[in-house]
Symmetry: C2
Subunit: 246 residues, 2 copies
DNA sequence: GCAAAAGTGTTGGAAATACACCCATGT
DNA sequence: ACATGGGTGTATTTCCAACACTTTTGC
């Protein structure tokens, strides 16, 4: 129970001039973006990493990041940095979270915004391979430089959640895929095994798969049917997103 | 199909010195935090707003925000700013998203990180009332200053999602509440009507409500039973969070 | 013919929905 | 007595989980 409150109407008011001076002078901070690019290949979920630039983290792997320019939109910086580091440009990036503890970067105060994406490894060729840029199986991702392990963990968790709520996974597969491919994808991302028949039923009942009347080729077993995802139908369907559950 | 890729192993490498110089000099940006504080009162969802400081937005309402100090953790800044603006300190803040278009603030380049909370209006007394700080019914929140309408919308959407997945709502109610109170809360946050009997069944079947064997007092109708939420039991129970659904 | 994976159906239980009546209280 | 909202039960349906056998292909 707190008493004696006062209303001093001007106490927290700042004029535009005061704010401008704060913005222009002492209160500025370096801002960076880190890109977490997930891909799917050889039935495994992978992520793009480079070797850290810094001696302090010699030998360690790190995410793809750089500073944001003062005259650049945050989202634009993410696309620029991804392009700069990998050559990739046809990639949709999504902001995940911002990390801002004071000592997270050895070069001084740097707040970083994490952006995440999911791409089809086969459809996107890496054009820049500086700092040993390449795909790493997520099962072998440990002990990254800076606080990048934490950032990576956060992004992976969010990915696992989002992939269950939205049809993100289809971007990771070839245009034509088998149900087995699809199941492998979900199992890789979620790190679990699923019942094949129920998985099948689930997806057929959603009714977003188009049967291409084609078969797999050159597989050492009975070939499966090929499908593609009906994005158009998905977009049209309403969300009935009410369902309390915890 | 892109060809002719080169590997120039040092192209993107920066030394610590280079990064330090970038961090210390030209590449810094003002960073702010905005707090979106939701509360529940009179069976309505509300949010704390103040009058905008700036002439440009004269008469408009705005979120609770200020600049982050260069030697201050991002989360700490959020708590400090909330405390400064409202006097509130026993409040859990959660980061929602970061907004960083170049021209979002008239005083110059300011990137802002939105933090969100849900509190019980009755349990938290506002001790500072500068800039006409007070609770606004969310149904009347329109046309906020800066890009605050967009930030508000994003936070409300995320709140609606999260409240269905986690027992956040209980923090908004008195310690002892009736099922009607609880349903009003969900209806207010989600903006929908629900079937009373099914709502009841839902919550009883979750088995997280403790029957206090007390009744409402002074209501102009048959008094309902009072309950409290069993947070302990909730924390212990495992998440079986697999369920593809879109 | 053998190995490997595709393809297929049923059943039981759990949860979601829709719906209608009586009860306790204050006025 | 009546208005207001509390409290309850049931039938239907939908969804999910568990489970085993036959088919097709490559080798």
């Amino acid at each position: 129970m707190i008493t004696g409150q006062k209303t001093t109407p001007t106490k927290n008011i700042k004029t535009l001039q005061v704010i401008q001076s704060e913005v222009e002078n002492s209160n500025r901070i370096a801002l960076s973006v880190d890109c977490i690019i997930f891909g799917f290949d050889e039935a495994k979920l992978k992520v793009l990493l480079i070797r850290s630039d810094l001696k302090k983290y010699a030998g360690k792997w790190s995410l793809l990041g750089d500073l944001v320019f003062p005259n650049e939109d945050l989202d634009a910086a993410a696309y620029r940095i991804l392009k700069q580091r990998t050559g990739l440009s046809d990639v949709y990036l999504e902001q995940v979270s911002t990390f801002g503890t004071v000592n997270r970067h050895p070069a001084g105060r740097v707040v970083t915004v994490a952006y995440c994406s999911l791409i089809n490894v086969q459809h996107h060729k890496l054009n820049i391979l500086d700092n040993e840029l390449h795909w790493h199986d997520i099962k072998n991702v440990t002990d990254l430089a800076f606080d990048h392990q934490q950032i990576f963990d956060t992004c992976l968790q969010q990915l696992q959640k989002r992939v269950q709520e939205h049809p993100l996974g289809f971007n990771l597969l070839p245009k034509k895929f088998s149900l087995r491919d699809l199941q492998n994808l979900y199992e890789a991302i979620l790190g679990i095994k699923m019942d094949r028949r129920n998985f099948r039923k689930k997806f057929f009942s959603m009714d977003f798969l188009i049967d291409l009347n084609e078969m797999e080729q050159d597989v050492p077993h009975r070939p499966g049917k090929l499908y593609k995802f009906n994005f158009e139908k998905y977009e049209k369907r309403k969300k009935k997103w009410i369902g309390i559950d915890f």
